[in-house]
Every structure is written in C-alpha cells, then in structure tokens.
C-alpha cells in the first residue's frame, strides 16, 4: 500500500497520450500485466477455498448444521440438469419466467424512481424555496425503511403486483432523489457564475450547468438505487409476490426444495450484478468527459 503499484495506474498515464497505441494493444498489454501479477491466481485460490469448504463441510465431513444445507454438487447438478428433481434449472422455462418477472418489476420501479427522483432532486438542489417546503416532508418519511411499508402497501394497492413494485420504487426513489440533490449542491458556484457572465439565462444555466454538473452524483445515486431496488424487491416477493426470484426462494423453503433456494440466491446475485453493471456502463458513456479525465489520473 505504501509502495506505488504501477500496474494499477491507468495505461494512459504511461503513454505520451498521443494515441500511438491502438486500444486493442492497450487492452492486450493490460491483460498481460494482469496475468503477470499474482491477482488471478490468488482469486482462484480464494474461490477454491470457498467452494472447497462448502463441498467438504456439507458433503464429505457432514459437519453438524452444515449437513442439512444443500451441497455444492447437489446444487450444481440440479442447476445444470435437463430433468431437475426439484423443478428448476437452466433448461426449464419457468426458471426464466421468474427471472423475467423480477427484472420487469425492477425495470418499472427503477424507471419510475428515476423519472420522478431525478427531476425532484434537481429542483430540490436548484431552488431554495422548493427545498424549504418539500424537503422536510421528504425527510419525515425517509427514516421508515421501505420494507416496513409492506403491509400498508398491500392495503393501499390492490392485487399483488402493484405493492411489490411500489416497495421497490420507494427504495430507489429515496436514493435517486437524495443523491441528485446533493449533486446539484456540490456544483462549484463558479460554474454558475461563469455561465451567467457569459450571458446564459436561468433555464440555460439549468440545462447546461446544473444537469451535467450533477450527473456524477446522479449516477452514484442510480447505482445505489439499483442495489436497494433488488433488496426491497426480494423482501416484497417473499412476503406477497407470485413469481419472481424472491418468491422462488421462499416457496422452495416451504416446499422443502432446498437446492432451489441456493439456485435462486445465485441467480439473484448474478442478475443484480449485471443490472448494476449496466447502470455503470451507461454512466461512463454519458460522462465521457469524466471517464477521460479519470483515465488521466483524476485532475480534480
């Protein structure tokens, strides 16, 4: 930590920044650096230890308590089986139905939360008066964990679909709105002043300064938002859903299909990771200026 790890430096800083190297060459160079470092091998050791312990403790040593858990080989063979004993594997349509239902709920809730949370956050940060009136109510409701809304949501919205989406929305909404507001407040006053010097009107400042200036924070908010969305979705689905990965986990428990619980958890982890990676990639794409700046080592 006290020594500088050169392999961690972005390659760009080691070049004269004159694009002499094609991007594939840079990528290859990075890959070779990574392979030459101990990291990939340590990673393999890590996974080996983790999976090995799971396998041995459950299926070989049959340690107390562990023995009741589904074992590694059971889970894997079930997951990859064309003819799963407990009804769920990658060859079963129902598996994808559950994934699709969960993703659909996340997508609706996330887009609603973004569509409402981002403008709300922008106005909260931009107008002092708006904040004075709206923020106290926002802060009053925020400490109540979204999951505590479950029963009330069921009462408020009929059916089983809307309450789950509402819960998921709520969690995302707080994260998005709050971070957007912080983003606006973090903008250096000099930018606003410079723009007004250059003759920009109020709405032009909003459009050209406030919105792009808050983007980094907005995307931080969206990252958190996707995470908490999954968090709430699972709880909602476990309590009151029909279909969905949370539902899979819960019913597998009540129906004593233990390996399916693990399949559900792993799938959740993968799908959750992919969605947050998508948000990150979108953020990098929309903030070219920042990506390029950071590649140079973060001037700011």
């Amino acid at each position: 930590m006290s020594e500088t790890d050169l392999t961690k430096l972005p390659i760009n800083t080691l070049l004269d920044r004159s694009d002499q190297m094609s991007s594939t060459a840079v990528a290859m160079h990075r890959l070779s650096l990574w392979l030459a470092s101990p990291r990939p091998y340590l990673m393999m050791i890590g996974f080996g230890l983790f999976l090995g312990f799971w396998y041995l403790s459950v299926e070989v040593w049959k340690l107390p308590r562990f023995a009741e858990m589904p074992g590694l080989t059971t889970v894997v063979s079930e997951w990859l089986s064309k003819n799963p004993i407990y009804g769920l594997s990658i060859f079963v349509d129902e598996y994808y139905l559950h994934i699709w239902v969960s993703i659909r709920r996340i997508a609706i809730a996330f887009f609603l939360a973004t569509a409402i949370g981002v403008p709300l956050g922008l106005f909260l940060g931009w107008s002092k008066r708006f904040k004075q009136f709206v923020f106290p109510v926002f802060e009053l409701l925020r400490p109540i964990p979204p999951l505590a809304w479950v029963p009330l949501a069921i009462v408020m919205f009929h059916g089983s679909e809307t309450p789950v989406i509402f819960l998921t929305f709520l969690a995302s909404f707080y994260a998005t709105a709050l971070n957007t507001m912080l983003g606006v407040q973090s903008i250096d006053i000099s930018y606003v002043r410079a723009a007004s010097c250059l003759g920009a009107k109020r709405w032009q400042i909003f459009r050209h300064i406030i919105v792009p200036g808050a983007l980094p924070f907005i995307f931080t908010g969206l990252q958190i938002s996707v995470g908490v969305a999954w968090f709430s979705l699972v709880a909602g689905e476990m309590v009151s859903g029909q279909y969905g990965l949370g539902y899979v986990i819960n019913t597998s428990y009540t129906m004593v299909r233990y390996p399916t619980i693990i399949i559900g958890m792993v799938t959740l982890g993968i799908v959750g990771y992919v969605t947050s990676a998508m948000v990150r990639v979108l953020g990098d794409y929309m903030m070219q200026w920042r990506t390029r700046e950071l590649a140079l080592g973060g001037e700011r």
Binding site: S190, C197, L198, A200, K201, P212, M287, E293
Partner: protein
C-alpha cells in the same frame, strides 16, 4: 506556439501609454464603495469606502492579502454581489449604485476565476462557443469558426475536442481567457487566476496573457496577492489594506510594454519592488497576525 517570440503587432509607446488604435472602452470607476457582510452595524466590513479608477485599455492590478476583500470588489463589478453603498460605473454607465445595489452579470464583464471555471462536461470548443451561443449572437457555425480562429491565434490548435480535464492547468487558463474574449468584453476581471500554479509556470502564463493583451487591448482588472506579478503585468497597481480593504497606495508603472521576463531583473523593476515591498509586507503581517486562513 512560443509565447516568448511575442510577435507583437502593436508598437509600444513609452511609458506604457495606450496606442491610438486601442479601443477606449472598459473604463471602470469605483466611487466610495462599501460592503458589509451580515447586518449593518454588527456585520463584517469587507470593503471600506473604496474609490479608484480602472483606465480603459490598460491592465490594473489590485494587490492585497488573501481575504482582504478584494474579491468582494470584483464580485460587485461582475454582479455576483451587491454593494452596501457607493457606486460603480462602466464607461459612464452605472452598473450599480444608489437604488440598484447589485449589478446584472453580463457578457461585457467577464470573470476568469481563481480555480478556473471551464465546464468540465463540455469540450474546449464547446466551452469557448458557450457565450455567443447562449446569447444567441452567433449561429453555431459562425461561433465554431470564430472559436477555431481564436484558438489557433492563441496557440491552442489541436485541443478543440478535448475536455478541459485532459489538458494541463496552464493550457486550461488560456482556454478560459479565449472563452472570455469570444464575447468581445469591455473588461476582463481576473480573480487570482494563476494562484494554484507554480511560479515558473506562472511566469510563462504572464507572458501569454500579455501577448493576448497586446493583440486585443482589452481592459483588464486583475486581482492578486503577489507583488511581483502585479508590477510585472500592470500599468497601474493598487495596493490594498488588509480587511476592510481600502486603497493604500496607487502606483503607475512606467516600465515600457511589451514586457518579458527580463523585466524582472531590471533596475526600474527593482525600484518599484523596493518602493512597495514595505507597504505590502506590513499588510501581510497584519493579516498574518490576525490568524487569517490563507486558503
């Protein structure tokens, strides 16, 4: 581009006088300006009955310790802050004064900020064309063409489509000045623009600024805490007292323009340094003793 080989078109007249062809706009008169922060009477007095003039087509440098209130004065001219009393005129037009204590910010007075305020999310050329496009003065094509010309002129060719974060801080300052000049301002207000730079880079930047000045002859109002910088750049140097700020000494620097770094070691330059060093040192010590935060 090499700023030392300043191919100056304008021949310098003795005594740093303004050449005849220079535009004679951008004269600023500050009359009895006072600024309180907080409630009158109990608040902090930042600017204390300031009166002086910024001549058109010249560089006027205001020197004072950090936090002395000189930025407040600049903000009042730019229209970011109101005055408590007094008035400021730009070419005989009242910017702020009795009845209208806060000026409107506008493209006739452009500020170049201490830490730089290029918008990091816009490319350099988008930054430079921002002013005319927002004001609706030029079409996109016209603005881009003018921007390209001006960038080439300032030795900034080739970085049009880079983001400010990708160029060195010295180059960034130059882009910012070009962004200001795009609007044909009457006066440039520079708020310690080179503060964060090291002294060698700074001296290179000074020459670059002077070169731009010789080409455009735009009036410049420059704030700094660095006496050497002030004397090197200024036609006129206004030394301020520590908070509340008030002119302590006003000097006309008769070192002929165009100047380059060799001026720093001339006899006349050292005489000016000697003449002012004591005054500045005294104020600095006062500010220092008051335990003022430097940053």
């Amino acid at each position: 581009m090499n700023p030392t080989s300043a191919s100056v078109a304008v021949s310098a007249l003795p005594g740093g006088a303004i050449p005849a062809q220079a535009a004679r706009t951008g004269k600023v008169r500050i009359i009895d300006a006072v600024k309180y922060y907080g409630a009158a009477g109990t608040g902090v007095l930042a600017v204390d009955h300031c009166t002086f003039e910024v001549p058109a087509g010249e560089i006027t440098v205001v020197v004072g310790p950090s936090g002395c209130g000189k930025t407040t004065l600049l903000n009042a001219i730019a229209g970011f802050h109101s005055l408590s009393s007094g008035s400021i005129y730009l070419d005989d037009e009242m910017l702020c004064g009795p009845g209208k204590l806060k000026a409107e910010p506008g493209p006739d007075r452009i500020v170049v900020f201490q830490n730089g305020a290029l918008f990091p999310w816009k490319t350099n050329i988008e930054n430079i064309t921002f002013g005319p496009m927002m004001q609706g003065r030029l079409t996109r094509a016209e603005a881009y063409e003018k921007a390209r010309d001006m960038m080439a002129d300032a030795g900034l060719r080739g970085i049009e489509n880079n983001y400010p974060g990708e160029i060195s801080s010295g180059v960034r300052r130059r882009v910012e000045i070009v962004r200001a000049l795009m609007n044909d301002p009457k006066i440039l207000l520079l708020d310690e623009p080179y503060r964060a730079l090291d002294s060698l880079t700074k001296s290179v930047m000074h020459e670059a600024l002077l070169e731009i000045f010789y080409k455009n002859r735009v009036t410049i109002f420059f704030i700094t805490h660095d006496l050497e910088e002030a004397i090197f750049l200024g036609h006129r140097v206004v030394i301020m007292t520590t908070r509340p700020c008030r002119p302590k000494k006003i000097l006309d620097i008769d070192i002929p323009h165009p100047r380059d770094y060799s001026v720093l070691t001339t006899k006349r330059f050292r005489e000016f340094m000697d003449e002012t060093a004591a005054a500045v040192h005294e104020e600095a010590t006062k500010a220092f003793a008051a335990g003022e935060k430097e940053r």
